[in-house]
Symmetry: C2
Subunit: 148 residues, 2 copies
Amino acid sequence: MKFSTKGTYGLRAVVELATRYGEGPVSLSAVATEQGISEAYLEQLMRSLKKAGIVRTARGKSGGYLLTREPVNISVLEVLRALEGSTDVVDCVGSGANICENACTCSARPLFLKLQSRINAVLEETTIGELTEDHIEQKKRIEHARLS
Amino acid sequence: MKFSTKGTYGLRAVVELATRYGEGPVSLSAVATEQGISEAYLEQLMRSLKKAGIVRTARGKSGGYLLTREPVNISVLEVLRALEGSTDVVDCVGSGANICENACTCSARPLFLKLQSRINAVLEETTIGELTEDHIEQKKRIEHARLS
DNA sequence: TTCAATCCCTACCGTTTCACTCGGCTTTAT
DNA sequence: ATAAAGCCGAGTGAAACGGTAGGGATTGAA
């Protein structure tokens, strides 16, 4: 019941791109260095994000990655799904998905359905824009505290 | 971000014990057969539940497993924790746990904190007693539909 | 035109977890 | 005494995790 590092790394990378939204392509090495993530590993994650239509790329020298949309129009759910494959806590709660044959007599399923809807609510309503704003605020507070 | 089968199997087993609460020990084979779970595997899960103080055992012939408390006094969170080790979505949201050194600058952490509190709320407020009642109701409805 | 900085892609690899299985031991009602 | 139950440690094949390595294609700038 853990998110893998893909989710965490990927979210952080997308937020990093969001802070530089509108400033042109950001190179992989820039993101990797800033976030302390292995460059080669992050590249794989970026490919998933690209396939999912969350980022696009500029190739060649001075190329890099860009968000395809404004940060407020990207939900956390979308990003996590692109990276982790699915955010379902069990297979049998997906829409129309792999419902096991005894689903209707499974005593745990009602719980999982409720839990999943709560989780999806949080992940859908939270956007990369929010995360980014909060993060910038947080950095400002730290800087302020350091100077005083 | 999936629960392993330990969680699902274990919950179902505990509900099975709950439906027979007050009727004496229930053998492993009875639970395994009823729920369609491998007996040897279920035994391991039962061991975890015992260590956590959720079930107790009667040894020897006509022995078996019993809940240590009334089903309404057992939360789903407790059961899942016993089986899965932890229900935290990332390590850095635990109380006092492994907070990574850059936690205060991690742009994803606020999201995970919020998500975790929502998850814990559901898992804490839901009891084995509720699950069991719902399950019995459900079985009745199915039986009723079959007869008509 | 060449060169260096980029992204693109496939393959591999050591470790851990999952979902079991196996076999032998101890306890206890009958 | 015996058979039915729980107790316990070890092993196992497959998959996922968290990377690494190395080559290729594209492009801006010298």
